[in-house]
Homo-oligomer: 455 residues x 3
């Protein structure tokens, strides 16, 4: 349960920032402050859509850029509608430990910003935060859309546009909310004590599992894995976009993590913001060094993905760990991501942008890290036993299995009905012409046009 | 009058978010909260300059990119000076129902953040908000500059740089403020009860009317309309920029609309932010489907413009309508914009970026939508009569006529003196060389250089 | 001392915004408000990393874009670690008038957000602001990283990646903090009365001096200065990126300057935000006109650098000057930057992006401007004597000499050990291949590949 998490946070931060007490802030002021914070944080998370669009399109080929941009753009619009109609109710509506059953279309009783015992309404699982319902929904919506956006990068450069949009609708309407209900919506994993403060599992690994299911049915891009066993590098077409995208994501994470307090609690938000930043920095440096040692050069795409790995890994534990632990978590994430990228290529799972290595691998690691580094007493490395970590493992496995198999079923249905992969000709020519009828950069001379598509 | 609008808002939201009451927030806290909100919202609106720069340059040709970037950049600087010296006084200074006559150079008495009856100063029309004068000015400045930026896209790829800068000065110093005074500055339209919460008319359609006047005197780009009656598509050179620009604008609108409360009222800002988002999402999806059906492909520029259409349309009614109505307004806007783009091409009005379809057509529609969908009782579809809608029609027509004819006069004066159109040679070669002496992408091989300017 | 500065601010603004008094805001509310503001402002300053990355890469050649992006990206990660471990303690830790000697790794006692006399801890120099320690650190960190980023642009297109990263570590760990301690950390310059509100000297000119030392040892890019005495223009490869970067920086400055209040004081932050904006606008217009007159065309890179010049120049005086003075300061900065760019080329100091002209020249000018335009009584042009200006001159010279000579020593050490310049072959081929093994835009045909590297 989120409420339990927050108690953990406050406990943890009481240590870090002595002397803070909020008893004196009157209720109306607190509602205004908290709403301001939640909305601003939500705007930052919304902004991550631009980050994913720039990063993913930059790391793919120019001939598919319009397609990737269009996918990343429309996925937020589609999520807005499907999360409003169905998803939010399934995730946060009152219901069973397995699924929410009320609050569809934001209907049903709700007296937010009343909170705690004073709350009366159908979204009891969000009664720990004292902001208007529409602010709660907006903040959760921008999270939901992130999960769908993660999928976009993994299946890039060969997925049919229509099929991707359909899958996104289903993911945000049904699959994401059910996993989310288990942990954040009053479900059985939260009741067991599983902690995932800002969503290493709820958002990131869920996006990764859904993508993994898709890519298994979709197969690698044509020519990626040669018959002699070697891997053909397909470099991204615009590293300027990719770098900008990563900086947008880093900025957005200052909404993602500290905003998940859903309250302008000064000690908590300052501490979470700094933990988030230090894990990102450590991930960046660790990936740089690892790539330099392994590959001989400080590869920019590894530098970028190392940063994102640190950010994903700190997402679950950001509220419960010390600054030093955040740096350690970031360092591990930065090493992990480089090896994961190499690993997925070895087993011939073709992920053009490295999103599985970033979001799935480090989403799992970050969720585990809560069990290992929790400074509130329960962490394995901080005087606690193995129990907390085992709870995290159960949560990771349960939500992973749920998401992977439901996604596999949906991808399979799409494959046997409308199809999920473009034709070989379209893939070779580029999806921009085939799916959208326009090019991303029509004024420029490309190598493909010069008869040297493969350099 | 804005004060009247705000009362409407608070009334409307009392329904939506029961239990909020601000009586207990002490005055100094409220001033600090409101100022924080107004400034952050103003920063987001400022950021829209980057959105327009990226969108408009991306949707034009590479050979004119420097020119468009320079225009979009300098227009905010020019607006800052002209709105400070003249515009703000004409718009919000005390005066007649037709024009403000005091407060030039931000001079004159003003005891902000004192508000309501306690206010004493020359900007009585802004006494409904309790923030320092400089915060009021900053927030209104970023709005004023938006109107001028809208013009930039419509006249792109053939306007003289100097003439555009001159027109922008005049627009922001005189034309925009007079229309704004009528609605927001204590003028006759506000007194009549016209409502335009965040400026579908004050900002967006005004930008559109000013641009329409310019484009009528300027004519289409060379080669756009062939003698056989067909239209030559001139694709934008960088869809990555255009997509980024649209996401910047969507983000900026979270300042534009919710910030127009000019107060950190939690129920109001959460509701307005969500209404804004849902209209954008609906506009995006509606334009995607409409373009897919009409043109055979989900054209990315239509996806982007559909989103912007939804945002423009919800700008006036965002504070007075339900969430469901916001979705409907967005859907209509998304359909409208696709047909409008085709319509303007049919009547041979050449608008390279679709800004007339987005800002003029949907600015008018959004202003009308207040009359149709007002949930506070007066909306035609919500139990009210036709009266409210008629008031909106009068406001649309009056401000439209004012802006169009004043702009036409200024454009005409420029045309017969310094000239408004570059030479045919310069247009063919690109404005970047002719107007600025540099290229946007000098390292890259373009098709134009390869002897195939027209593909 | 910063506290003294702030008193000056409040004094100055009492004039500008009568009627504001904060006695009534209770302590906990004020801590929450101030923390919210400091974090949001810090996020905006963080965002400037993207601005520098886009601006600097855009103003350089495509073949070096990956290298510049990687440098700008990793410099923030490196700074995060080195400022945490060493820099923050040297700058703000209690110690001598010349250097801080406590608080490394954020260790040591600290009861923030307690402030003033109630503060007990090792960071006494920051006890004038009432936010948690982690918020103080985060805000100061994003400032420190800015100084290092400024260096990046000046040494671009020929510096070794590893050497740059090493220099950045040292700059942010040792050099920047010592100069900062003198002015902001309780050191001798602050005690003398030197004023530098948001860091024209502490951040901007320090970055400039460090870069100047480097560039003297590094030399110009190959082919930049011809043997006949003429200068070969090497145009930036992507003016779209450069424009976006400048708009990001302008936005970021709304965190940089108003955020330096480190308190959500409504009168102060509104006034500082507006002063900042007007100086930027005036700098933009002045540079446009100056470039137009001197060079015959309104060069876009001058328009952009003029804006940045205005922003740098207003950074020190933004809290102590009137709106009119801000415009004047911006105008002077905009003229200065154009002449400075021409001057550095004349003395054959090769600065690919104009960062010395922007940050060094206008950092010095802005610091001087405090002495000239201070509206609180002490400004030379506002009824004060020469004394205040002389104090500023001493501060500029002292921090300049400290930074320049320490940096020169570090650069020299790097030069004679690992080397600081890439080989002529690598410089000709581009640093992207040599240092990173990838290209920024591998899909595109460039002029270099066509056998026409120099156009």
């Amino acid at each position: 349960m989120r409420r339990r998490i927050l108690t953990g946070v406050l406990f943890g931060l009481a240590m870090l920032a002595p002397g803070l007490a909020h008893a004196d802030i009157d209720v109306d002021t607190k509602v205004a402050l908290d709403t301001l914070w939640v909305l601003v944080a939500g705007f930052l998370v919304f902004w991550m859509n631009a980050g994913f669009a720039m990063l993913e399109s930059g790391l793919c080929q120019a001939k598919n850029a319009v397609n990737i941009l269009a996918k990343n753009f429309i996925v937020f619009a589609a999520s807005s509608i499907s999360f409003w109609v169905v998803g939010f109710g399934l995730m946060f509506g009152d219901g069973t430990p397995f699924v929410g059953l009320s609050g569809f279309l934001l209907g049903g009783a709700d007296n937010s910003p009343a909170m705690g015992d004073a709350y009366a309404g159908v979204f009891g699982s969000l009664s720990w935060t004292g902001v208007p319902l529409y602010a709660k929904f907006f903040f959760q919506l921008v999270f939901a859309a992130t999960a769908a956006t993660i999928v976009s990068g993994v299946v890039a450069e060969r997925i049919k546009f229509g099929s991707f949009v359909l899958f996104s609708f289903v993911l945000v309407a049904f699959i994401y909310p059910i996993g989310g209900h288990w942990i954040w919506g009053g479900g059985w994993l939260g009741s067991m004590g599983m902690l995932d403060f800002a969503g290493s599992t709820v958002v990131h690994s869920v996006g990764g599992w859904a993508a993994l299911a898709g890519v298994l049915l979709l197969g690698p891009r044509a020519g990626k894995y040669r018959s002699d066993g070697s891997v053909r590098p397909i470099p991204g077409h615009n590293m300027s976009s990719a770098t900008l995208g990563t900086l947008i994501l880093w900025l957005g994470w200052f909404g993602f993590n500290p905003g998940s307090t859903m309250a302008a609690d000064p000690g908590a938000i300052a501490s979470i913001a700094l933990n988030t930043n230090m894990a990102a920095a450590a991930g960046c440096l660790a990936a740089t060094v690892t790539a330099w040692l392994l590959l001989g050069k400080p590869d920019l795409s590894m530098i970028l993905n190392g940063t994102l790995a640190g950010l994903v890994a700190i997402t679950a534990p950001c509220s419960n760990v010390t600054l030093g632990s955040s740096v350690v978590i970031g360092l591990i994430a930065g090493v992990l991501v480089v090896y994961a990228v190499l690993f997925f290529d070895r087993i011939r799972i073709d992920d053009p942008v490295g999103a599985l290595s970033v979001h799935l691998v480090n989403g799992v690691f970050g969720t585990l890290a809560v069990g290992l580094f929790d400074a509130g007493g329960g962490g394995l490395f901080f005087g606690g036993g193995i129990e907390k970590t085992m709870t995290q493992v159960i949560g990771i496995a349960a939500v992973g299995a749920l998401t992977f198999f439901l996604s596999l079923a949906v991808w399979f249905l799409l494959k046997v009905t409308v199809g999920i992969r473009v034709t070989p000709d379209e893939e070779s020519e580029g999806l921009d012409i085939g799916e959208h009828g326009i090019e991303a950069y029509p004024g420029f001379q490309t190598h493909q046009e010069m008869g040297s598509a493969v350099r």
